[in-house]
């Protein structure tokens, strides 16, 4: 039975690492799998270099990275992630409600509470929701559109939040946020249409 030499095994390991497989345990699996595939081909009479290229062509570095992402997605504790986002959302909501109530009764500290609530919602809740939703997204275009969507929503929320505090910059923030959100919806729609067309 043909077995790859140490140098050849290291070469495969390096190629797997180059494909951005970060999970060390998965890397062991993939290196062994690729080596087995190459050895099988060599045993059938293919030359070593040709066998290696054939296998990497078949698997592809993009696919190796996708396996790493998929493994991360399946093994991640999604419950803890959702719980974290939920807690931040509740804190933001309580701050906003308290701030708003203080404002209605003209109590001191209303502006600070409202401001912190807005910032927690925009840079906490919405940011983590986005991370939970898109961190495993394989398409970089979708990731880019999600970032645009996030910046748009964050600006809109901060803008609308600051309107209550009568900040002069608030309207500009809300306007630019709306424009970015519009861009996000157009881009997202185009990507979805493109994806369904290609299917």
């Amino acid at each position: 039975m043909y077995l790859l030499s140490q140098e050849e095994s290291i070469k495969i390991k390096n190629r797997v690492a180059l494909a951005e497989v970060h999970n060390a345990s998965l890397s062991v699996d993939l290196v062994d799998h690729i080596c087995c595939m190459i050895e099988e081909r060599v045993e059938r009479g293919t030359k070593l270099n040709a066998a290696e290229e054939e296998v990497f062509k078949e698997m592809g570095e993009v696919q190796l990275k996708a396996i790493d992402i998929e493994t991360k997605f399946l093994t991640q504790n999604k419950f803890a992630m959702k719980k974290r986002t939920k807690i931040i959302g509740i804190i933001a909501f309580i701050l906003l409600i308290t701030g708003f109530t203080f404002k209605m009764f003209h109590l001191p500290g209303a502006g600070i509470l409202w401001g912190i609530g807005v910032i927690t919602a925009a840079f906490g809740f919405f940011l983590f929701s986005l991370i939970d939703r898109f961190s495993y997204e394989k398409s970089s275009l979708m990731k880019a559109s999600a970032v645009i969507g996030y910046i748009g929503s964050a600006l809109l929320i901060v803008g609308l939040g600051l309107v209550l505090l009568r900040w002069p910059i608030a309207v500009y923030l809300a306007e630019s946020g709306s424009v970015l959100l519009l861009a996000y919806f157009i881009l997202n729609n185009a990507i979805s249409r493109n994806a369904s067309d290609s299917k």
């Binding site: 790859l4 345990s25 699996d29 062994d32 998929e70 093994t75």
Partner: protein, 115 residues
């Protein structure tokens, strides 16, 4: 070769079942066994196999052990007691599902009894 949609839902059952047949198996061995036994009608791709094996490990259904084979490390997967119970349950569920599916798509003609 069957479509991915058809196979995807049964992958966990297939893997648990095959791991139950031996003390331990490695990834390539599993994929080769499925390919050979099904005459290439079911192919376990690396993209489906390894994420699922890692998920099973995280869920404590399989345990792994590292061994050196030739000049590289090889990870072997084996069922845990929980995995063995799960494999039996999944097998039973799949057989029952196949029976139900058969009665659904290939119904037996109703025989009317006349006295």
């Amino acid at each position: 070769m069957y479509s991915n949609e058809l196979v995807r839902g049964m992958l966990k059952t297939i893997i648990l079942q095959l791991l139950g047949e031996k003390d331990k198996m490695y990834g390539y061995e599993l994929s080769k066994l499925v390919k050979d036994r099904t005459e290439e009608k079911i192919v376990l791709t690396e993209g489906a196999l390894y994420p699922l094996l890692h998920k099973l490990e995280k869920d404590n259904l399989v345990i792994t052990s590292l061994e050196t084979v030739g000049n590289r490390k090889r990870k072997y997967y084996a069922l845990t007691p929980t995995g063995e119970t799960s494999a039996k349950e999944k097998r039973h569920e799949l057989l029952d599902f196949m029976k139900t599916l058969k009665s659904l798509i290939d119904p037996q003609p109703i025989v009317l009894c006349t006295y």
